[in-house]
Point group: C2
Chain length 210, copies 2
């Protein structure tokens, strides 16, 4: 029994290593660094979606979080939805995405949190209906890409406002040099990013060593 368990752990580690390597290799191969330290990974992560890669990422997150504890997956529109959908599907859990700003189709009874969107250079309000998050929920936040961490900070606030329990945050790609992830870690949040970019400029992309 001890032997087969060791093999299982090794296999898991190898799978994990493979996914993280795969993600990093695709960032290196297909990512583009634009002026202002903008990193474009829109060929597989946030414009064109590679759902097979998303499934591998979901399986990788499953090694880092105790999914038996989780009752709800939470993300923010728009680009987090694809990855969170695959995670929710893979794990058999419901998913809620926070809407941005006010649309007529969401009525009262909302948890909300104001964040600053660096993408759109303005304040944005994240909204979740209190129908779909309860104090009894154990929430895992999933996002595709973290820069300043504002979206995740807003989502954490919503979980807190709902009186729900935050299990952790799974993020595919983190821009480590912008500090958003480290601020969340310093606040005691269980954040796992699969690829942390430490530097991105005309010389290329460097990942943080784990």
């Amino acid at each position: 029994m001890a032997v087969s368990r060791t093999i299982y752990v090794l296999k898991n580690r190898k799978g994990a290593y493979h996914t993280m390597q795969q993600l990093k290799e695709r960032i290196l191969k297909e990512g583009k660094v634009l002026p202002g330290n903008i990193i474009k990974v829109d060929g597989f992560l946030n414009h064109r979606i590679d759902t097979k890669l998303m499934q591998d990422i979901a399986d990788e997150f499953a090694h880092h979080f105790d999914l038996r504890q989780v009752s709800l997956i939470l993300t923010a529109e728009a680009s987090g939805i694809a990855l969170a959908t695959i995670c929710a599907h893979r794990w058999g859990l419901p998913m809620v995405f926070a809407k941005k700003a006010k649309s007529d189709n969401i009525e009262g009874g909302l948890y909300q949190s104001d964040i600053f969107s660096y993408t759109y250079k303005k304040k944005v309000t994240l909204l979740v209906s209190n129908e779909w998050m309860k104090p009894t929920d154990h929430v895992l936040i999933i996002d595709d890409f973290m820069a300043n961490g504002e979206a995740v900070r807003g989502l954490c606030n919503i979980v807190k406002n709902a009186g729900a329990t935050l299990v952790g945050v799974g993020c595919a790609v983190e821009k480590g040099f912008q500090g958003g992830g480290d601020r969340l870690r310093a606040a005691g949040i269980n954040l796992k990013s699969l690829a942390i970019i430490e530097r991105a400029d005309e010389n290329g992309i460097i990942f943080r060593e784990e």
Copy 2:
């Protein structure tokens, strides 16, 4: 052989019937009609996401479109992304979601189409990078909810601008009484909506007979 094929077809038809019934029953049970003929289905379709239902919807679309022809799934952010992601994953195809308005993370080389958003009561521009849609692509548009059909009209324009081929449009829920779907059908577009709502008011929701 003939017998087993008949059974297979019957089984498929039964599955199809079941999915459409299931979707209609959930709309009747969980949908809410708000003033202004707004139909809220945010408990399973466009705020909280039931990925199992999405998979059943994907399997149902697979009966209506020849997926061997399709090279790309296209949708619009934000609420179309979840269903399009499950469809793309189920069918092993890439998915692209059109972004709304201009963000700094999309550079030049864009196909775009202006639409009027009744949700936000303003003009919105749909954008797809020309890197991710080619004239050789055969595109299936997937959307969760059609009212005036503006989003799908915009997506059809983008497919046309790209010189790609439109295979069809699969939509989960259509508000038939707003005419968007019928205008697309009249324009010769192969549109399949799984639940078409013919009337929605204080007396309840009535579906169009197929």
